[in-house]
Amino acid sequence: MILEFSFRFDQFSIFIASSIAIFTLLIGLYALIFMKGNRASGQFLVYFFLNCFFAIGAVLANNLILLLFFWESLLLTMFGMIMVGGRESYKTAIKAFIIIGITDLCMMVGIALTGQLAGTFTMSAISVSTAGLGGFAFIMLMIGALAKAGAMPFHTWIPDAASDAPLPFMALIPGALEKLIGIYFLTRVSLELFKIEPASWASLLLMIVGAVTIIFAVLMALIQKDFKKLLSYHAISQVGYMVLGIGTALPVGIIGGLFHMINNALYKSCLFLTGGAVEKEAGTTDLTKLGGLAWQMPVTFACFVVAALSISGVPPFNGFFSKELVYDGALERGWIFYAVAVAGSFFTAASFLKLGHAAFLGRSDTKSKEAPWPMLLPMVVIAAACIIFGVYNTLPIDRIIAPILGSHALEGHKFSGLPANMFLVLMTLIVLAGAVLNHLYGVKKSGKAIGAADHIHYAPVMHSLYDRAEKKIFDPYEIGMKLANVAARILYGIDRFVDWFYEVFTVRIVLLFTSLIKWAHSGNISTYVIWSLVGSIAVLVMAWR
């Protein structure tokens, strides 16, 4: 009744579990070398592989409670890994823990509610409508999934972690693993548990969240001066595409979202790995100090180019095809979503041009040699995967993603191969060209590669928004903490009032009576005699009444 230890091996969960395993293996290999210098590397690796165990457990679980069990255990390993980062990294660790901890509690409520509504906790048997209480449960579960995936309202810990946490962590968790698990659960919830229809408010909500995540995260990414911070913002914005895709609740959108999930995992982890290589060899990830690494680190540069192109959605690479599907779905549901998605990819392209130009091209004032082969191997493998998934995209779509939705949902037509809607392809090409122009204009205007996005940065309206964003005004975590402290003070006030009631109020009342009685005992005998007489009369009266 409460907890059966049941697993389920269907098409979707096996796929996710295997990809988790592959990524952990590759990045694990990378991490062995990267963490050699760090004194807590042993501890880090323990958390690293424990994390993989829990992730696979969560994905394969068929019982919602079991899923929650593994899901929240990830919290511990994540907290451990960030703590290892450095002396000051505990602040981010705690920030991440609190954000994801709180959203997991919401998810716990969601799961309890769904279980109660559906009568059982086994996921395969649950189907609940999103009306009334079900809707509330859906939102709760959605919050859990989005937080894990790193979507907008719950993303603020990822940029901080970029600077504090060790890089392999950034590559694995925000880079690949979280997206996989988060979107996996989101799909389970929206397709299997709640079966949201395209017209329903739930899908609209998801699409809005996706769109918002895309645009704001990429705008923030544009102005970043640090290699890893820029990548972390992009990790957040890419999630927006997946959420948008699944949010459309159309087969094309969902296929697009899932395909984008895999692609993102690939190129995002590859970018992080290149960032790691740069950091290890060049000693810093600050773009202003970097430059001209292309010739010193050719393999890293090559992988970076492949990954950058695929993330920007340049045709032959995998990013392009999954984005096209998402665009198709988004356009069908509403042009505004499509416009946001396209704008998103415009800025993504612009920022990666800036990053590539600043980091790899231009003069090199630092002498750095190529990263050791064990670090290069995973990068090359993942880059190759990016290319394969792009060019030969029927393999991932038809054989892996399509069966997930089951044949009836696909209404017959095939999504793999070249995108059907030519208009979208045209638009994407125009946007990419625009991005290159903007980059060239930016570089010429500011004179150096790093300033490519300054003209956007210091535009009148944008300038004040950026400053406030930098100072974490909009960060829900800070707002939440202030709110919590204010609420705590009020509640502490209540507690002190109750304490005052005991310590001061009742004591004073009682002592008032006591002093009254003591004053009454004036000591002279006549009062006592009078009392006795009055008392006897009272007794007589009481008896006779």
């Binding site: 000591g523 002279n524 005699v529 009078i530």
Partner: protein
């Protein structure tokens, strides 16, 4: 009928003497006068016992009770006098204020 009238007469005297006794005890400033008051009270009660015995025909019982009362109350009054002497020895005055020192 006569018995009722007689009883009422005795009862009235008893009540009047009681009022005198209690008034004297509560109002006076002098310890000795309190004794006087007490003695008046005892006399009132003795009277009433005898009257009750007389009216109900149990005069013998009343008399024996009165004798015992007198003996015991004498001792009480003597002890009271002793106490007053004690007070006098301590404070050289019979003012009631000296007997009001224990408050609260």
């Amino acid at each position: 009928m006569v018995i009722d009238q007689l009883f009422w007469l005795f009862f009235m005297t008893f009540i009047l003497l009681l009022i005198e006794g209690f008034y004297c005890v509560t109002v006076t400033y002098n310890l000795f006068r309190i004794l006087i008051g007490l003695e008046v009270l005892i006399k009132a009660v003795t009277l009433f016992v005898i009257a009750a015995g007389y009216l109900s025909g149990h005069l013998a019982l009343a008399q024996s009770i009165v004798i015992t009362i007198i003996v015991i109350e004498v001792v009480v009054v003597v002890v009271a006098a002793g106490i007053i002497l004690g007070f006098f020895r301590e404070f050289d005055s019979l003012n009631v204020k000296n007997a009001r020192r224990m408050k609260g």
